[in-house]
Amino acid sequence: MPTKTQQDIDRYARDLNPEVYTSVYGGTKATTEKRHDVLFHDYPDPDLLRRTAGEVKQHTLENLDTYLPKAEAALKANGAQVHFAADGDAANRIILEIMKANGAKSMVKSKSMVSEETGLGHFLEDNGMKCLETDLGEFIIQIDHDHPSHIVKPIAHKNRRDIAKSFEREGLGDYNDDPATITRRAREFLRGKYFEADVGLTGANFVSAESGRLAIVTNEGNARFCMAATPIHIGIVGIEKLIPHDRDLALFTSLIGRSGTGQHLTVYTQFINGPRRFGQPDGPEQMHVVFVDNKRTEVLASNCREILRCIRCGACLNVCPVYRQASGHAYRSVYPGPVGAVLSPLLAGTRFPELADLPKASSLCGACNEVCPVNIPIPDLLLRLRDKAKTEHAGRAMKGTPPMGMYGLLASQPHAWRAAMTMGAAMNLTPNAVMNIIPPAAAWNSCRQLPKWRGGKFRHWMKERGKN
């Protein structure tokens, strides 16, 4: 039985599928090492870059009242249309309106964390629009009705065999788990989709207030394809993405590549502040930028505003001992890992109590702060949030989670576990059904689905292996 001191996340970690654990642990460790090598190889004092970038972001946030209108004006002057959304629903509605006003029916989309927050994909589908993820990882998440477990590597929890099965199921060729084949099939499939789509949606990693330029980084080139094949470009951007000048982009593009994936620069680093130029045959005739608040101003008003510096590089996830053990889904929200333990409860607004246990999912070892390219004092912020949870008597900060508690109970009884494993298809319904009667879990479940139950295969495999 779970002991009283165990947190939800501990239980999740204990029950994690060993294959998932291996994928997550191996991937995060390798990326952490690469990050370290490339930073120390290139700079005598990488810490100075981190501290400076942190100061630049802090300055921008504390002067957002000047920088945001500045970016808006620069974008408008360049022919882009600028929209503001107070919350996620407003952002989704604005995007739907843009599509309707242009008679658009389908969207190709590159990776954007804020669109995950707003649930844009589901919203558009519910309103009769097609919306296709083009980042390979996000595409796989979409066809699996899964959700990302890492902010940079959304399918960190999957291995090639899982993916090969999904591709086979979706009619993307016979089972083949060679990563090159998987990638080539996705290339061929998505190619046609870009040309069919009416709208290309991207996020932005940074926005220069000086020129309004959206800096968008991808390795695959999918954001670039979205902006070459479709007639309308929509950028969905959290208001915290601003930086003061174009020249600051050198510092930030250098840090995001190195911190996120151990690259000097991400393969495609794009700077966009308007529709295509006269004479250019390809690309959007319209550019829209939607600046999204969605509780960011609440965070700005709080004593945790430093978290808004975050550039979503994922370095803190990769280095975090808790994330490595538990993987991303354990955090039950769009943002996992140390950044998520701070940001998710804050962005939850009145639903803060539901995620108030997350700030406890840390040993406060400080590794996240050490790697953070904008030097966010994550351990301090976690303590401030624990304090908030206590003073607000947020029950969840102390109590266990019912669904995970059940899962824990099941997993700690070998007989019950085996029985559950062989129940097969029934288990596909059970977790969701169970979760929906528990309000916090239902809220989480309302915008996402648990991955299809595939339990039992590992045990079976082990048994078969033992025979040989």
Binding site: D42, Y43, L49, T52, E55, V56, Q58, H59, L61, E62, D65, L68, F84, A85, A90, I94, D135, L136, I140, K153, N159, R160, I182, T183, R187, L190, R191, F195, N219, G221, R224, F225, M227, A228, A229, I239, D246, R247, L249, A250, T253, T261, Q263, H264, L265, V267, Y268, Q270, F271, I272, G274, P275, R277, P281, D282, G283, D293, T297, A301, R305
Partner: protein, 205 residues
Amino acid sequence: MQDDRELVMSRIREALAPLKERAQYPEYDPELPVCRAHPEFADDWELFSHKMKQVNGTPLKGLDALGQWLAQQGFKLGYCDPALVETVRAHPAFAGITLETTFERSRVDDYTFGITQASGAIAETGSIVLKDSETSSRLGALAPWTHIAILKRARLYPDSITAISHFGDDPSIIWATGPSKTADVEGILIEGVHGPGVQVCCLLD
């Protein structure tokens, strides 16, 4: 939505009002993001070549080198920027290769390569710079398996700071650092996801 604009702006002002003082912009050395010097390379092109090879790009010096490289590829048909087509066609290496100067989306898979101008390159990172004003077709530079960027030496910048100072007023600037790639599947590097699987930069003096 106009109302939302006012709402967001007023929330920002309210959030910031209690701050007694606001964090200052750190007046940092603009050279801070510049990498350690590489005295072992004779010039920026040597450094660029080295860096581009590190990301599996293909740097080539001069049309002859490009011609030799092309001969090994067995290309038949590609897209070429109309402004470059005369220069390229004049070279014997291109005999027998069809160059089209418009990119037809309906025939996207027919083009085995695309040749466009590089607006610049960054030595420190091995990146090529593509600007909308000088890229004859965004698709021509993106969709074919091989992209060949033609670079004039004067446009080779030492670092990203210098490249940024040459942004000008272009609405779409791309730094491409090697071929398109992913490591989403088990962290294994695969090239040519959506963009080129082969990225060439050919230097013209």
